[in-house]
Structures are given as structure tokens and as C-alpha cells.
């Protein structure tokens, strides 16, 4: 049975709490009951997925909350929206839908959210520490918060995320609790060749494998290089959270609480141990392409999750300042864009043929021309969602492959170890 604190009961019955605050708390309470939680837990931050327009229903709900005085009680960042505020709009939505998307974003600002509009809040300073209880939405951000930062969040979907932000609380269940953070299965990549583990594409490909094998279970992965970069870990988390309902991957030596194997398994033996071999990895690599890996391409899409400053620098460096024959869409957030401008990288990339998509991305809102085509990408998440959401069939490759393909106008893959 769920037990509420005096303070929580007081809010629900208060004459002073706004109707919006009460609605938010009552949704959190009902969700907690559904999930079998015994209590709520106070949170220190929230990341809102619900600000992306999917239809009028979400707008009406959020406006209703805002109108009734709901205010975020903890620092709250916003995920991508369906349009961009700071560039001329690129989203091909009808004027009615654009207006609704704008109203949804406005409602979140009115509730006190920080207008960050990014799927990678961890790149702009939202970095809860090990053990911090938070309520984040957006599957890649959730996986990153748990796996890389060691914070504690479940996969909060639309509406429960804003309800948690406004109430400052979350149902105490799932990955908020110690015992549920223990891993159930062990995926071992120790035997994969060292050169493979250094590949750009290793991380998204491994992430895809992890998501399929783990499903919604917490898993541990051993044998990954401890010097993996944050961009690589970001790619792994996003991929795992696309192919599975993955919230936490204990990467031994990287995840803050995954200091050693026995600890991760609560001093019990793993229920299942799977050794990941090259055949599985090759299979996953090729599955990320949904058309033949050759021929003319219509565009390159980068930045799911949002492209970081270091990735933009790498893009500039690897391109050797040779022009692109097809548009290279770089999806990122306004903070990163500002920094790129300050460092004089933004205009250089634009001159090469980069089209920056700020505050949103090409897969969550209609931006790409026509109703379909061939997209080259180094993002497993783009590869996973592109065809369904945009009609563009993905070809997956490394960043270097994407750049070369953009410069040639046709897919130019150096399969490396994935032949």
C-alpha cells in the first residue's frame, strides 16, 4: 500500500496549493499506486519529454496544468520541441500544427521549465550526481543518466515527467531503489578484438545488441574500454534504449556504481551470461541499414542524440573542408550552437553544406524534403526510427563514412571490421 507523508496529504487537501499542483501530485500518486510503490521520493531535477508535439491532446493537458497554476518545483529541462524558436522555422507542419506545437512549448515555459529543447540535457550542464534521485524522460537521456552519471531515474514518459517536475516527487519504484538496480544478465565483450572496440561504430552497434538482449532488464557489460568517450557512451545508451526498454546498463569500470562485477549483481551469480561475438555485432551493424549499402543518397543526418561540440569539431576536421554534395543535417541544441558560433565552427560547417537543425531534430518533426529518400547516418537511433517517422531509409556507417558519402553524393562505406 502506498503511504503518503503528511506534507503530501496536505498538498492534496490544501486550500493554498494551486489546482495545477494538486493535479500533478494526484497523477504521481495514482501512477505510484499502479506501479505498486510504497511511497514517493523527492527528486532533484526533471527532464521533460512531453514538450514535443504529437497531437492536440497533450497540448490541451499541459495548458490546463499551466492555466491552473502548476509550477515546476525542481530544475527542469525540456526535450526537443517540434519546431525551432531561434532559426527560421524548418518544420513542415501546417500552420495549425505549428501553432499547437508552439503552444505546447509555451505551456512548459509557463510552468517554469528551462527552455533547453534538447534530448541531451547532460551536454548542457544538467548532470545529476551518483545516487541523485531524478525524474527524466526521453529514453536516451534516461539511459545516460543511470548508466553514465549514476543518477537514479525510471523511464518517465510524457505527462508523468511534468507531473513529477511540478510535484517535485516521483513514485519510489524501479530504478530509484537499490535492489532494482542490480543487474540480471551479463553481456561479455572481452573477446571482441581490440581494434573493433576502438571503432566509432562499435558503441551504437553494441548498444543495439544490448537493447535486443536485455529488453527491459538491467544488464551489465564487461570488457569495454575504460577510456570510452562521453560521445561514444551517448551513442551506446541511445541505441540500447531504441532496440530495448533499457534504462540502465552497468558498464563495468564506467558506470559510477559498477566498480566490480559481484557488486553489480548484488553478490549473486548472474542469471544469464552471454558472450557477444563478432557475428552478432556484424549482424547488428548491417541491420541498422534498411536499404542496400550503396548508391545515391539524399542526405546525411547526424545528432541523435544531439551532436556535441566535440562531434562538430570532428566533423569539420574529418571533412578536410571539402564541400558536401547532399545536405548534412546536424541536429543540436541552442547552447551548443552558440558555443560553435563563438568558436567560429558554425559558419565553417554551414559553408561546407551543413544544415543546422536547432532545438529539434529531423526524425521527430517533418523537416526532410519530400516523402522519402535515402538517409545516411552514424546514429543507431536515427537508423531505428527514420523509416517509420520520415519515410527515409537509413544507411548506417561511421562519421567518416557519412562525410565521405556526403562529399561523393553516394554511399561510400569502409566497412572496417564489419565486412
Amino acid at each position: 500500500m502506498l503511504e503518503l507523508t503528511q506534507e503530501e496529504k496536505a498538498i492534496l487537501n490544501s486550500e493554498f496549493a494551486t489546482t495545477g499542483d494538486k493535479t500533478a501530485l494526484s497523477i504521481v500518486v495514482k501512477a505510484a499506486e499502479m506501479l505498486g510503490a510504497k511511497r514517493l521520493v523527492k527528486i532533484t531535477s526533471s527532464h521533460i519529454d512531453g514538450c514535443l508535439y504529437h497531437g492536440d491532446s497533450g497540448v490541451l493537458f499541459c495548458e490546463n496544468l499551466a492555466k491552473n497554476g502548476a509550477k515546476a518545483k525542481v530544475p527542469t529541462t525540456t526535450n526537443v520541441g517540434a519546431l525551432n524558436f531561434i532559426k527560421t522555422n524548418q518544420a513542415k507542419l501546417s500552420s495549425e500544427k505549428l501553432q499547437m506545437a508552439q503552444r505546447l512549448m509555451d505551456a512548459h515555459i509557463n510552468m517554469g521549465c528551462t527552455p533547453s529543447w534538447t534530448c541531451a540535457p547532460y551536454q548542457i550542464g544538467a548532470r545529476p550526481k551518483k545516487g541523485e534521485q531524478v525524474a527524466w524522460g526521453e529514453s536516451n537521456a534516461v539511459a545516460f543518466a543511470n548508466t553514465v552519471l549514476g543518477a537514479r531515474t525510471n523511464r518517465y514518459g510524457d505527462f508523468l515527467d511534468i507531473a513529477c517536475a511540478v510535484s517535485g516527487r516521483a513514485p519510489y519504484y524501479g530504478l530509484h531503489c537499490d535492489k532494482n538496480r542490480n543487474a540480471e544478465i551479463l553481456l561479455d565483450v572481452t573477446d571482441l578484438p581490440g581494434n573493433v572496440k576502438g571503432e566509432d561504430t562499435f558503441f551504437p552497434v553494441l548498444g543495439s545488441v544490448i537493447g535486443r538482449l536485455a529488453g527491459d532488464r538491467v544488464c551489465a557489460v564487461s570488457g569495454i574500454n575504460k577510456i570510452a568517450s562521453e560521445d561514444q557512451l551517448k551513442a551506446l545508451c541511445a541505441a540500447a534504449a531504441s532496440t530495448g526498454a533499457v534504462g540502465l546498463v552497468h558498464i563495468i569500470g564506467i558506470t559510477p556504481e559498477a566498480t566490480n562485477l559481484p557488486h553489480v549483481f548484488g553478490n549473486e551469480r548472474p542469471r544469464e551470461i552471454l558472450s557477444i561475438d563478432m557475428d552478432m555485432m556484424k549482424g547488428a551493424f548491417h541491420k541498422l541499414s534498411q536499404t542496400k549499402q550503396a548508391g545515391k543518397i539524399d542526405c546525411v543526418a547526424l545528432g541523435s542524440p544531439h551532436f556535441s561540440i566535440s562531434e562538430c569539431k570532428k566533423l569539420l576536421e574529418v571533412s578536410e573542408e571539402k564541400d558536401f554534395k547532399v545536405p548534412v543535417y546536424v541536429c543540436t541544441n541552442r547552447h551548443t550552437a552558440q558555443e560553435l558560433k563563438a568558436q567560429n565552427i558554425y559558419s565553417k560547417l554551414e559553408r561546407l553544406g551543413v544544415v543546422f537543425i536547432i532545438d529539434t531534430c529531423v526524425v521527430v518533426t517533418p523537416i526532410l524534403p519530400g516523402s522519402g529518400g535515402i538517409m545516411m547516418t552514424n546514429s543507431a537511433k536515427f537508423a531505428h526510427y527514420s523509416a517509420g517517422n520520415t519515410g527515409y531509409r537509413p544507411i548506417f556507417g561511421s562519421l567518416a563514412d557519412c562525410i565521405k558519402s556526403a562529399q561523393n553524393g553516394h554511399a561510400t562505406l569502409n566497412y572496417g571490421p564489419w565486412k
Binding site: 504529437h54 497533450g58 490541451l60 525510471n154 514518459g157 513514485p171 529488453g215 530495448g244 526498454a245 517509420g388
Partner: protein, 134 residues
């Protein structure tokens, strides 16, 4: 025959089962405009989920799925009821809580381990979480 599941959201529903044969994320997997499966390579691509008792053995993927279900509820093209293979997250059930707050249609959501119902079966869901074949 009857079965008992865990009530995530109570209600009644009577209808034909549609079982999702491969894991799906509602976001990217189901169109909010016409309630059809749109996921590339999904064995049931093109199938409409409206008015079905939808069996989702493995809900996966994006946390935006709640928005898609809410949109289906608001547009009155939602399934009649949902039977989920897991109660580990509240992503889909939360939409029904929001629909209730807004005074829109709600549907029962039941969680049970390894639901074995097959497409085409006729089922009735009762408010206490019991499921009866009819």
C-alpha cells in the same frame, strides 16, 4: 475460461484480441493519425489497433509512447483495452490517467505475465482485472 491480471487502470471492455507479434514502441510504431502499425519491418505493419483488446507482450522504446496513446484516446481511435506483459513502467497507463483528468474516454489496462491471448479471440475485461473469454 477466465484469467486474472493486475489492474493498472480499472474499466470494462469487450472485444476482439489483436496481439502485437513483435515488440513495438507506440512512438514511431503506431500512427497517431490513423492508429495503424507503421514500424518498418513489423510483421503487422498496416494493421489498425482501434477498438481491439490489444495485447502488448513487450512494450519497448521511446518514452513518448504515452503521447501517442493519449492522442488515440482523444481522437476516439484507441484500442478498447490494453493487456501488457509488464508493469515495470507507467508509460502507457499514464495516458489513461491524463485522459481521466481531462474528462476524455478511458480504457482498462491490465498487466499480466506472459499473456497468451491470440489475435481473433473474443475477450471481456472486468473492473477487478479478471479477463473472460466469450
Amino acid at each position: 475460461m477466465s484469467w486474472c491480471g493486475q489492474v493498472l487502470y480499472s474499466g470494462t471492455a469487450k472485444g476482439t484480441v489483436l496481439r502485437l507479434e513483435a515488440p513495438i514502441s507506440f512512438w514511431g510504431g503506431i500512427s497517431p493519425d490513423n492508429a495503424r502499425v507503421v514500424l518498418e519491418n513489423h510483421p503487422q505493419r498496416g494493421v489498425k489497433i482501434t477498438d481491439k483488446i490489444l495485447i502488448v507482450p513487450d512494450p519497448i522504446g521511446s518514452s513518448s509512447s504515452a503521447a501517442i496513446l493519449l492522442e488515440l484516446l482523444y481522437a476516439k481511435i484507441a484500442p478498447k483495452g490494453l493487456i501488457l506483459g509488464t508493469n515495470k513502467d507507467a508509460i502507457l497507463p499514464i495516458s489513461v490517467l491524463v485522459a481521466e483528468q481531462m474528462g476524455w474516454n478511458t480504457i482498462p489496462i491490465i498487466a499480466m505475465e506472459n499473456p497468451t491471448f491470440k489475435s481473433g479471440e473474443e475477450l471481456e475485461i472486468k473492473p477487478d482485472g479478471t479477463i473472460h473469454s466469450i
